[in-house]
Amino acid sequence: MRFRHLTLTLVALVFAIGLLGANAPVFAAPAATMPPPPAALPAGPKAPPSGAAIAQTCAGCHGTEGRLKAAAFMPLAGMPKAQLVQAMRDFRSGKRPATLMRHVAEGFSDGEIDAMAAYFAAVKPE
């Protein structure tokens, strides 16, 4: 209902700023002014969260197991691993503009992003 009120420009922005597309235009501040990504998280006595466990925290917006119907967010099921890893790293560094994805990506280490991306890559999109 709400989308009827949106201009084409805005629809275009959804795609430009949304998760999809390694070629999304960059119009945030240049990467040089961004702080470096956080150091790797210290190893604890227990195993780090599994890719599946991390992926579950994404599902509230990106769909159960990354499968999502008719919402503005990017479904992650079946996304090639390298594409998702790059997207998360670019969100984290600020290279890629976002609303809150930079904030979320800051909470995860490289290894965790790899594990999560491997999980989603293995899920069959619907």
Partner: protein, 445 residues
């Protein structure tokens, strides 16, 4: 002839034991998981348990056969959505995932016999119990206020339902130039940005439909979660002037005072603390004086849902202490408490918190039953909120157990940046609506 049975047995052997749940290996009946409460936490847990192992017997005890979602429910007040649009059905959880529903009120817990008894006299045995009762509104926390007044004259509308419809009607038919007072709650409470979003949305609605109306927030606090970014939005949209101490915190240019702003935030230090309601004269007495109003919305203090008290799961705080790594109650074994009722340190009492807690607990339970290690937990909270219908804000958090054993935030930035572009701001409002849609799917579909 090689029978199908032999083939399956051979297959099971070659796959190894890890692929076969412990409950089947041991030759026992499938584990019984009872979930009390079919809100965000309970419904998410039910779905993700059945996804983890479809053989688990998952039963949800819930009072209402149709769920009314609280997230986004303030948008009924500004006619952005309808009461009907808040309704969510349990059909998919029942039919697609095989969750059993008992529509009844849970009354008591026997943690030794491991049974839950309902008001209707049903006794349900469990191997693991998840309690997700949400919040209870402490109507008696404000002298002069009561549940009866909330249902008839001064709604709280913080648990959506008839009070939401009543408040919508009052606000939309308020006299020309009338005064709407929203009494904000003390911490901790459900949906930290919610009261402020509600006040802002009504300020925007009144600007079109009742331009001389006033909106006052009477607050027992001096700050709130999205305060800086929300007040910047209010400044841009309504000419709101933040209190002096915020002027240096808000790292963006503020519009100068113009005509009097329709929205006023009376923080505690400005005398905003609600002290007493006089419903007869529609007056809210605050520390700073009496406010006569046309519509009063009281969002009272909160505690864990009544079931948590009835089950003996609360401590003196009125909420439920849990072991952080499992959300198992520190008071009763094999009973996990999730969502608003639990004490989860830095995690806000939000739907998204409840959703990621529920998934984690579903994983922990399935792993425990199968003899697997769940690894270390990670949770998230993302909430989009509105300063106006096209002006989005957000809170975004990633949580882990920190060195002090408590749950803490691990990401740096938390809010909409002060230098967010108009496109990012508007997109946040688009995403606020998308969030409601996607989030509902993840829980109920």
């Amino acid at each position: 002839m090689t029978t199908r049975r032999q083939f399956l047995l051979a297959g099971a052997t070659s796959l190894g034991l890890a692929a076969t749940p412990a409950i089947v290996r041991a030759g026992q009946a499938p584990a019984r998981i009872v979930i009390v409460g079919g809100g965000v936490g309970g419904a998410t847990a039910a779905k993700y348990l059945k996804m983890a192992d479809p053989r688990l017997q998952v039963t949800v005890i819930e009072k209402n056969p149709v769920y009314i979602r609280p997230y986004g429910s303030s948008e009924v007040l500004n006619q952005h959505t309808t009461m009907q649009a808040l309704e969510v059905r349990y059909d998919t959880l029942r039919d697609k995932y095989g969750v059993t529903f008992v529509f009844d009120t849970a009354k008591s817990l026997d943690p030794v016999a491991k049974t839950v008894t309902t008001a209707g006299g049903k006794v349900l045995g469990y191997d693991k119990l998840i309690v997700a009762p949400g919040i209870k509104l402490r109507y008696d926390s404000l002298p002069g206020y009561s549940e009866q007044l909330a249902e008839t004259q001064v709604p709280s509308a913080w648990i959506p339902g008839a009070q939401t419809a009543l408040l919508a009607k009052q606000l939309q038919s308020m006299r020309d130039g009338g005064v709407f007072v929203l009494a904000a709650p003390p911490n901790p409470y459900r949906c930290p940005p919610g009261p402020y979003e509600r006040a802002a949305l009504m300020t925007e609605w009144f600007s079109r439909h009742n331009p001389r109306a006033k909106v006052l927030i009477a607050d027992p606090k001096d700050s709130f979660v999205t305060d800086e970014t929300a007040m910047l939005g209010w400044n841009r949209l309504y000419g709101f002037q933040p209190p002096a101490e915020y002027r240096s915190k808000i790292k963006a240019e503020l519009l100068p005072p113009g005509k009097p702003c329709a929205l006023e935030w009376l923080q505690a230090k400005a005398g905003g603390t609600p002290q007493r309601l006089d419903a007869k004269t529609m007056t809210l007495h605050t520390a700073g004086g009496a406010i006569k109003a046309d519509v009063i919305n009281i969002i009272p203090a909160m505690a864990a849902g009544q079931i948590a008290f009835d089950f003996g799961l609360t401590n003196d705080s009125g909420f439920c202490p849990v072991h952080r790594s499992t959300f198992e109650s520190t008071l009763h074994k094999d009973v996990h408490v999730i969502g608003d009722a639990s004490i989860a340190d830095a995690m806000p009492k939000s739907g998204f918190s409840a959703n990621t807690q529920a998934k984690w607990v579903a994983r922990v339970i399935a792993d425990q039953l199968a003899g697997r290690d769940s690894g270390t937990p990670v949770w998230e909270n993302t909430c989009y909120a509105l300063a106006g219908k096209d002006y989005g804000l957000f809170v975004a958090d990633v949580f882990r157990i920190k060195d002090d054993g408590k749950i803490g935030r691990v990401n740096k930035a938390r809010y909409l940046p002060f230098d967010a572009t108009p496109a990012q701001i508007r997109l946040s409002a688009v995403y606020q609506q998308a969030w409601i849609q996607a989030f509902t799917q993840d829980i109920f579909a």
